[in-house]
Subunit: 671 residues, 3 copies
């Protein structure tokens, strides 16, 4: 693999256009103090750089680029197309979106362009081309940043027509479409492509987030993701025409539901994303999101945005405590980031993000706690130079994450409204996180043979080819863990007939006859073979063994004593099936069996409560040891005597890490 | 009375059109095993049988009818008009509905036709006629099923115009309309029929379920119920033209708020309904709904739909436990059903109901618990043959249920938002249910003289003629129980002036001066004359005796010591008035007095916790004894020695019923 | 000051137009018994008095006026323009409003006219003129009442165009507008006035009550308040043309968010308002609202509406207990009212307010508790005659209340969603209320020099001139108390750069570096210098002393030990700054220091739990002593021997007041 950058980009969103010139000089002085070496510019300036349909005005942007170049910044240059200029909406109202309620919008907010608007496409593409023509050869441009946080939906007539074309291309015949969507149900059979309507509150939509025909709604989501991806590709190609080398990205948003990021990543030179945990987000969830973002291309990524301290758009925007931003930044690098970028460098004076944290606060100077922390981190990163750039995160465990599944599972009507995809995946991820076992978040069509263990929680939708791939993986000795609500439907959301879990049944050695749903006030329990018990909630599969053995049985209800968790030898491998949503102890017990069967190795054998991660490069292992717990924790003995790359000091035996303390250790890799 | 059917119809919704032909044969084989003898077909096939405006295609339906006929099924033939074909909405967008928010809908979902659309009317009627012409003489057609679960509202311009016509017919003059709706309030007086607008979110609607003018909104509900009823009658008449004999129905939904079912039932040959209790619905509420559905025509009814086990559209769709479906089915028969039909016979492969339970599960064979339970019940019902068909449920107690009241009470602004009509009625029903006292749910204009006790909870709206009818009933010795929030308004939602409870005041012998509202955290209490106390909530009437005696007084607040519950001798009868929403004990105490005064007889004298119901036919009494409690319960001694018609075994003294156990006993009626 | 009236107006809304004539006579008889001397008429009669575009019909109104005149009533004559006649909406649909969702409304409800509709303006103005022409010289007209409870918003195209004109007048240039709204953010820069769109759900609106650009949304609120005020002024001027003397008002609604009442009051001859506390509204909050209404003009006001007992539109509409209405009425007078008027005199027979309390209940006679209480109060007020009319409420404490602040604070995105303006202000008001210290609620541009203490809670927006005015106030010895979330933005919602609390920083002697947000489950604490502790919630400012001293420090988190509350000597005065939302004890402690520094005098020195208020007139002090507590409370000794003006009896030493007891005492003022 080749490194995208020469140093860790350290900087973030910078909007000098919102400020008078004298502030620019002050910015340069202060940023230098913090070792800031990069700035993301031109993110929301369309109206400024194209003040009218026939006029471009790059004078100010030239000055900004020139200033940053002079200071040797790595510039991340955005294309400004994520918010329409007012004049365009006024002249061409069609460029605005029509929402889920069927309301056509006026000018306002951002992410407001209909992706299938020819007007939008024309001007967005032209702008990207103009920018590339002008700045494509500037050696300070380190990365192109197309648009910003793509997302949202449009239900206008242009999209409806485009949807029909998309469908015709996919299904070829109306017969195929009627079958895929099972339109015979409720007599929805169509006889003309033009009878297709977009699924929103005026058609198939039920309440806000359900649908009468999941097949239609899932296809709409695929189409919408593709439409926005089309916008991205269009701008990317326009840029590439004038700049053949600089990496091109757009900033993603972790487990954001709207877009199939695995598909997107194929079109991106490098993945970048914006990390905004809440005050109560578990650190394991943030770690999982990093791993997912890394997993999109199985390559290092850019941390395009994080806040130095506070957000503004969450209900309760707590400050980051001293050390927290630094710990969060190293966690990011530990999980594969090659950049640390903030939103934003200077706190804005007005608009709805004026309370969003920034490197320079409203006070306007460097005499703040937050700045000092940014500065400390800057000095450390400068010292690291290119050490970790391009380093690899290796994992023996893969967890399948699939946007089709995400959509399908959350659209489904029954058996319970409480199944949330990300929450479900996170429960399984967490086990490995807490045991310092590296995980790759992988797509449904990954090369499973790279892993000892593949975990496929709530693998509701099993698409064509997956059965064969997973069976082959297990046959050759792989360990597969799957759960309730798996193997139910195919790619069109039609049920795999013949009994649950459908295509997974043979390898799991079971048949699930019924799926009970438990209300929030109800629990069952799992009694393991060793007598230990764990609570089960949400759903309870009633399982019949078809070759598998039971690992634990239900403790109550009419199916008490029947298998709740099973284990099946299949070829040289093993399939675990978990029939109910167990509490952490129960789940951990099963994962431990699976990890044990596979002889999966943690980063460090001793469990301490510290997050310990490892990246490898050039024959070296770089360990990141972080304390995210409230208690003080002792470093594992194995690191005693090693040097902490951040402080330069040698780690003592029994050395204590306080909350948010970080150590980074380099160890020679033994082959 | 004449029986509608020759045997208990046992079957349900069947959609072979959604399946390949080889599945049809398998269905027939499996259904036979379960003694299924009936299928409801063609419920949602409009697009299939009329693929274009000028084309009918009955080939597949012919095959289905032929197959079922060959197997000697009693076919319930639906008309398929409850979901528009896509082509119709595309060609005639006006057929779709305009919702409460004023949004005109596109193609999607079901129950989507504007009832006043001439296009819809034309094609629905034509389709019904075509079906009747083709299948009307087929002897296997046991019942016609018009449309499906009529409901929903439309606020389009066509409906607005139709509403004006409906009003002109009802009120004749604008003066009468202005007076009925009290339009002088807020200066809403109108001078032209065309000034009337439908009451939705764009006009008189307040929030989602309130209104500035209840008079308008209640009339709109009456109009909308009539509009949909007009659709039903139109199809019914079209069918009747070609089939003079087969009973015609449409499936109702218990206490569904949208339609005045008493008015609908007059147009139906037999009532049918769909029974979908939630996992936490009290069994007494299900019983009440059965009694209401029976009460619509005071005749046995069809259970058109229930699920063999699971639903999909509730938040938490629990399985039915072993025995539960059977117990629920016998409860249904006990309360007056002559059929047991499921939705559906085979679980569908896609669409939003794919997780709805069915006789044949996704596994596709008969080797399931649910199938075995269906089969056991089928065998039992086959044995019963026509024994209970047409049998009568007799009751000495009538509870008034009135849709106008339902609407008016829940529209009213003040004194509290917590008055829910069905919940209120159920509280009073429950007393009788738990004492094995049969109840008829009766309309406001019932022949009260058939009853010893009439209960009229929250009889908010007292329409013309009711005062006279109720006074006559009491004068002749009847016992009337009524409550807070009764006698307040007339049929137009205008207050009966002169003091609450208006027309009920004279017979109740009281005057209610004020109605206090209690917030959820507040309670008062009722101190009965014997010193016992019961909590009172929701509202507290401040009552003055005008001839009545106090049965219990308030325990606190400034009206402590004043009457909370009263009893008045009126003619040869008695009127009880309950001034506050008491807890179960307090309410039970008053109901016991009333039942005692009337010497009402329970099905069986001993209270055990079992549900005991009785139907009569041909000189025989059929007792249904069901245990819906978690505990084991002893059978009443009076049944010792009798034969259980279901098991064929003799009931022992002290015999125990476990949860969901059912006994059915035949006893000779002593004249 | 001159008295507006000759006696305390005692009466209220009266709608004989909704009743037959025989009821009118009965009304007159009953009202006389209650000493009712005033009626507010013609509030919602537009459709009646103008039955068609070209027709006025005042016959009935003439009769009503004539009847009331004959009985020597002081008539409050409304203009009926708060609800459109149906014919107008039918003929000119544009007169109706377009709502926040962008939906244009049909006929219905009230407050339904677009304020910028030329049609509405034409006919409303013409009607007001017609009324004034006809009744302007009638000596019984004591007050004109324009429209009714102005409020609500319109987002139609007419309003959009009017908004652009309003903006052009305010900002003159697009440059100024772009800067004020910080439109460079998200590239919203506009180049043409016609690019401005109204901020609703289709443009800048986020969820229901947030916005992407607070600057735009605040200006829209100002514009909308001005638009409605324009409607008021238009009618007022039309009336004034024909009636040069009679006071003109419209009824306001306390802390209603929609309108800038300080601006409105400038156009009103006398403030009037409608007081509708809920069953759980603290009495201190009602007192605060009275003080605010009095503060609008710093003059006595009219209590235009209160209910004799019950409301209908709240969730739980409890009865007023015996004595409660009387106590509430005297509280109203105590805080500055010169009238006591009810909504309404006779309870209506239909429409959504039929359960709203009235002097005459649905029973229709005077034999009710509520009537007897109205009658007792009437007798007392008649005895008071003009004693208190025009009397002054003096206060040494001013609390700033500012609608711009209200809007800006609640629009702001971050740091927490839990900041509610009225709730915040009330916390500080409550301290003074409980210590019998009179408060004036004052505008942001008040003459602060009238006060010893100025309290400015959450003074988020500090507009031009305020810094100078507040500094001058403090320099001359004033005590200023301000809090977290103060000094943040200017009048355009752009941040005061240079560090929080911006323009308040110098006088407060502090710099706030960061603002932490606490989730509802989190607390910090304040440890005062004397060791006492108080809980802190919501937000915690991290404060640096810049001359101030710390009064209490934080007890926990990383900023434990840093100042939470500060005190700064500035010139001859002192500024207190409160950095976190303390509980009542903590807040009281700081307020006590401030009140102590200023030597503020309570109405009566001894604290008893009684509400004690004082109005002055003609050398007399009128004390109002009211017990709003559940317990019995002893009168302060200082009143022993004085005469209670209401009962005429002498107050004994140690005399006990039960709940809702009221005493009114006149004392000679010592100069």
């Amino acid at each position: 693999m080749e490194n995208k950058f020469k140093r860790i980009l350290y900087g973030g969103d910078y909007n000098p256009n919102q400020w008078p010139k004298d502030v620019w000089d002050e910015d340069m002085r202060i940023f230098k103090d913090a070792r800031i070496n990069s700035a993301t510019i031109n993110v929301f300036s369309w109206a400024r750089i194209q003040p009218a349909e026939e006029v471009y005005d790059f004078q100010e942007l030239d000055e900004i680029v020139e200033m940053l170049g002079r200071e040797n910044y790595d510039i991340v240059l955005a294309t400004s197309t994520a918010a329409l200029p007012a004049w365009m909406v006024k002249r061409y109202p069609e460029v605005a979106r029509t929402d889920y309620e069927g309301r056509h919008h006026k000018f306002g907010q951002r992410h407001n362009a209909c992706p299938n608007s020819p007007v939008y496409q024309k001007y967005a593409k032209a702008l990207a081309a103009e920018l590339a023509k002008r700045y494509g050869s500037n050696k300070h441009i380190a990365c192109w940043h197309i648009n910003n946080e793509y997302g949202g939906e449009c239900y206008c007539e242009k999209c409806e027509k485009a949807f029909r074309v998309w469908l015709r291309k996919k299904y070829q015949t109306l017969e195929a479409l009627n079958k895929a969507w099972n339109l015979e149900f409720w007599g929805h059979t169509i006889y003309d492509w033009d009878e297709v309507v977009l699924p929103n509150a005026l058609s198939e939509g039920l309440e806000n987030d359900k649908t009468a025909f999941a097949g239609i709604s899932i296809d709409y989501r695929r189409f919408n993701s593709d439409s926005l991806l089309g916008n991205y590709v269009m701008e990317r190609d326009a840029v590439r025409e004038y700049d053949k080398e600089t990496p091109i990205t757009t900033n993603l948003m972790g487990t954001f539901k709207g877009l199939d990021y695995f598909k997107w990543a194929k079109e991106m030179d490098i993945v970048s994303w914006d990390n905004y945990p809440s005050y109560d987000t578990p650190w394991s969830q943030t770690a999982m999101r990093h791993d997912l973002m890394r997993g999109l291309k199985d390559q290092p990524f850019m941390l395009m945005e994080q806040t130095p301290s506070q957000q503004n758009w969450q209900p309760y925007n707590s400050l980051k405590k001293p050390g927290q931003m630094r710990a969060q930044s190293y966690q990011t690098i530990a999980h594969g980031a090659d950049t640390i970028q903030f939103f934003q460098l200077r706190r804005s004076v007005g608009g709805c993000e004026k309370f969003h944290g920034a490197v320079i606060a409203h006070v306007g100077n460097e005499d703040t706690r937050v700045f000092r922390e940014v500065k400390q981190l800057g000095a450390e990163l400068e010292k690291l130079a290119d050490t970790t750039l391009g380093a690899v995160n290796e994992a023996e465990v893969g967890i399948i994450f699939d946007w089709d599944n995400y959509w399908a599972l959350e659209y489904t009507s029954g058996p319970t409204v409480d199944l949330k995809y990300v929450e479900q995946i996170h429960q399984y991820y967490k086990y490995f996180y807490e045991h310092n076992i590296a995980v790759n978040m992988i797509p449904y069509d990954a090369d499973f043979s790279k892993y000892k263990v593949v975990v496929a929680p709530v693998l509701y939708m099993v698409k064509e080819g997956m059965q064969e791939a997973l069976e082959a993986f297990v046959e050759k000795g792989g360990i597969l863990v799957t759960t309730y609500m798996s193997g139910i439907v195919d790619q069109s959301d039609n049920v795999h007939l013949g009994g649950y879990p459908g295509p997974l049944g043979r390898m799991a050695g079971i048949w699930v006859e019924e799926i009970d749903a438990l209300a929030p006030e109800q629990t069952n329990s799992v009694v393991f073979n060793d007598g230990e018990e764990a609570a089960g909630r949400l759903v309870c599969d009633i399982i019949h063994l078809r070759g598998a053995e039971s690992v634990g049985n239900y403790g109550s209800d009419f199916y008490a004593g029947s298998p709740a968790v099973t284990r099946n030898q299949y070829g040289n491998g093993i399939v675990y099936y978990i029939g109910t949503n167990m509490n952490e102890d129960g789940l951990g017990k099963v994962m431990e069996m699976a990890a044990g069967d596979a002889k999966v190795k943690p980063a460090v054998e001793i469990e301490t409560g510290l997050e310990i991660t490892c990246r490898k490069k050039g024959g070296h292992k770089y360990y990141f040891v972080i304390n995210f717990k409230d208690d003080e924790i002792e470093m594992p003995d194995c690191f005693a005597g090693c040097k902490d790359m951040l402080s330069g000091e040698t780690i003592r035996g029994g050395e204590i890490l306080s909350k948010y303390d970080v150590k980074m250790i380099c160890v020679e890799e033994r082959v």
